[in-house]
């Protein structure tokens, strides 16, 4: 079916080609079906050992909701970093903007009570607006300089929220945020299931939209800019508006995640949105497979689950078995050390991430692909033309 008969050299594809072809053709339906399956199976799987020994089902489901938040964040950052190739190190700022939008719009602090569901859109929209505002000054910057500016913005936003006492209640944060209501039913405080299902729906809808964008004129424009910005410009792509759209759309999912988080935790404070969050999400995107939408989603989910569940289990295990040195180490504290190690290892062994897109694998394993056959001409000739 595909024109290229080149074998995938050393990196095997995780999904067999025929199945992935089917999914491509009926994408939206596959996503809905896949997510529905995952959403129903996950709470059941955790009833089985060994998962049942780690925590109760309710705690697991709660954890899945938070994992979903990170999936949304990773999906959005993937648009900016993976699709458009713009290194954004301050992504948590948009997350904060979404969260504070809802917290301000629906809490005793401000006295307003805007319903949750429209606020999802409002939060996404405000985050998108700030995405535009952040993106605007960065348009001429490349690589490292873009990263530094975005890093700066990521620092500025939480500090602004910290200091704007009248609107954000400063260090105490805004508490008592109202829970979502659906047709008269208010989401209970303790019961995790409604939030879990809500997040599953949000993730499904977001993924469908992102896939549609990726395969559209805009998605191609993003990829072109990532490949070669000058060539993109010289083929009619308005790199200014295209990059701004990447920032805006990428930020909007963070806005969604923020609104959800504020409603779930009923408390927002500036220290929830520090650089560590930006870094974690970036690590998830890189490790999961930059540019591949479902790869990033699965990667984020897996990483968050490992981080929140496995590390605690390691602690417990080593404490119970009384292993000499390890029992005194609190692995949860060392999660960033482990992230760092994982990133280093991945860059050495499999830089394209766990579930890379075909392109990314090719980009990063250039040498292998070119040596594998009649790519020789392509490899040699451009050098000859200087």
């Amino acid at each position: 079916m595909s024109g290229s008969s080149r074998p995938a050299s050393r990196s095997r594809q995780i999904i067999p080609p025929r199945i992935s072809a089917f999914f491509s053709a009926h994408r939206s339906i596959s996503i809905v079906v896949g997510m529905a399956l995952a959403t129903t199976l996950l709470p059941l799987v955790v009833l089985l050992p060994p998962f049942s020994t780690f925590s109760r089902q309710a705690v697991w489901i709660d954890g899945f909701s938070i994992a979903g938040v990170f999936v949304l964040l990773a999906l959005g950052l993937n648009v900016v970093v993976g699709l458009a190739g713009l290194l954004d190190l301050g992504y948590a700022a948009f997350y904060a903007i979404g969260a504070y939008s809802y917290a301000y719009g629906a809490s005793p602090f401000s006295g307003l009570h805007v319903p949750f569901w429209p606020m999802l859109l409002v939060g996404a929209f405000s985050a998108a607006t700030f995405g535009l505002l952040l993106g605007a000054p960065t348009l001429r910057l490349r690589g490292d300089y873009l990263a530094i500016v975005t890093l700066g913005f990521g620092e500025i936003v939480p500090i602004v929220f910290l200091n704007a006492d009248t609107y954000t209640n400063g260090t105490n944060g805004i508490g008592g945020v109202f829970k979502p209501e659906l047709l008269g039913y208010t989401f209970p405080l303790i019961e995790p299931l409604p939030f879990y299902v809500t997040m599953a729906v949000i993730v499904t809808v977001t993924m469908i939209f992102l896939y549609r964008l990726q395969d559209s004129r805009l998605g191609r424009a993003w990829m072109a800019i990532r490949e070669d910005e000058l060539a993109a410009n010289s083929n009619g792509i308005n790199t200014v508006t295209t990059k701004l759209l990447a920032f805006a759309l990428g930020a909007s999912t963070a806005g969604l995640a923020g609104v959800f988080t504020a409603a779930k935790l009923t408390l927002v404070s500036p220290d929830q949105f520090l650089f560590t969050v930006s870094f974690t999400v970036l690590a998830m995107v890189v490790l999961g497979g930059m540019g591949n939408i479902w790869g990033v989603a699965v990667g984020a989910f897996v990483l968050y689950t490992i981080q929140s569940v496995l590390l605690k289990q390691l602690n417990q295990f080593f404490t119970e078995t009384q292993v000499p040195i390890l029992k005194d180490i609190d692995f949860v504290q060392y999660q960033f050390l482990l992230y760092g190690l994982a990133l280093v290892l991945m860059m050495l062994i499999r830089p394209e991430g766990l579930f890379p897109s075909r392109r990314r694998r090719q980009e990063l394993h250039e040498a292998e692909f070119e040596l594998a056959g009649d790519g020789d001409e392509a490899a040699e000739a451009p050098e000859a033309v200087q």
Partner: protein
């Protein structure tokens, strides 16, 4: 060949980089459907002139007209632009403050300042995005800004590069689809909603991309990744991509560099076909004299940034200045 007004007219284009004058008052005219070659020794300023015409560089002096309309040149009255950005916000703020002070109402003052800031942000964003109404406003005020490369493509110029600049990790078809960017009209919203219009446009676009690939001799290679194509095919793909925007003028920068005689002959035939079947005007930078003498209607010769000769191949071949500067001993 020509029909009155030329497709492109460059007048007295000068490009100065600090102390180096790379292009010095060069005139160049390209009639409709003509094939013009731009030749000269290395460092003569050919690619610089190309980059000016394509919108990548803003010339120090002179200008380029496309279809009779001045598209490229040094900025005029650029100082007016910042005034346009700031003025609406300042007026609103001033009004609000004075009204507020007069009526002694603090909320009006605060509100006016907020609105002024919002207006300022909106105008700055417009300045960055430059929608059509903003550009019209600037034109009315007499402000001129040199066109960007994407604007030139919109106005009918397609371009290939000396060192191939394909989107290496995208397929041949996708490369051409990017070339067609300006001719597709679905918005991100259409993509979001997967409207029938968007799906129809995408399907038609893929068919057209296939046709363009076929035209340049890459039939059936739609799904091959660009970096895997042999060198000659990559050059052809670049041409197909440039054709995607239905240009009136094609700028080809050394299209036969690195090709053997057979491939060179094929490229010459392709260029001839593009002129004959699509009515394109073509401006070539070329070093291969067989190509230059073989297909050009007229030749412009540059040396050290200046135009030293212009005319038909026979005239140029016999011109002593050209021979001295570039061609060396005759008979090639």
């Amino acid at each position: 060949m020509g029909n009155g007004r030329p497709v492109l007219a460059a007048s007295a284009v000068t490009m100065q980089f600090g102390g180096l004058r790379a292009v010095n008052a060069v005139d160049l005219q390209i009639p409709h459907g003509a094939i013009i070659s731009l030749i000269g020794p290395n460092g003569a300023g050919k690619t610089t002139l190309f980059n000016v015409i394509a919108g990548i560089l803003e010339p120090t002096a002179g200008g380029v007209d496309l279809g009779g309309r001045r598209m490229i040149g040094p900025a005029k009255r650029a100082f007016l632009e910042p005034i346009v950005w700031v003025l609406p916000g300042v007026i609103v703020a001033a009004l609000g403050v004075s009204v507020g002070q007069a009526s002694g109402s603090a909320p009006i003052v605060a509100g006016a300042i907020l609105v002024a800031m919002a207006i300022l942000i909106a105008t700055l964003l417009s300045a960055i995005i430059r929608p059509a109404w903003y550009q019209d406003l600037l034109t009315r005020l007499g402000v001129f800004r040199s066109a960007r490369p994407s604007d030139m493509v919109q106005s009918g110029i397609g371009r290939t590069f000396q060192n191939i600049r394909l989107f290496q990790n995208m397929s041949a078809s996708e490369n051409v689809l990017v070339g067609m960017h300006t001719k597709l009209s679905s918005t991100p919203l259409d993509a979001f909603l997967s409207t029938p219009r968007q799906r129809a446009e995408e399907a038609a676009a893929r068919v057209r991309a296939s046709e363009l690939l076929q035209l340049v001799g890459l039939r059936g290679r739609d799904d091959e990744i660009a970096r895997n194509l042999p060198y000659g095919d990559q050059r052809r793909l670049e041409v197909a991509r440039a054709l995607g925007s239905n240009p009136a003028l094609l700028l080809l920068d050394e299209p036969t560099a690195g090709m053997n005689p057979h491939e060179t002959g094929e490229m010459m035939q392709l260029i001839g076909r593009l002129r004959r079947d699509l009515g394109l005007a073509i401006l070539l930078i070329e070093h291969d004299m067989r190509v230059v003498m073989g297909i050009s209607d007229r030749i412009t010769v540059l040396d050290h940034g200046e135009r030293i000769a212009e005319g038909t191949p026979e005239e140029v071949r016999a011109n002593p200045r050209v021979i001295e500067a570039y061609l060396g001993s005759p008979a090639q």
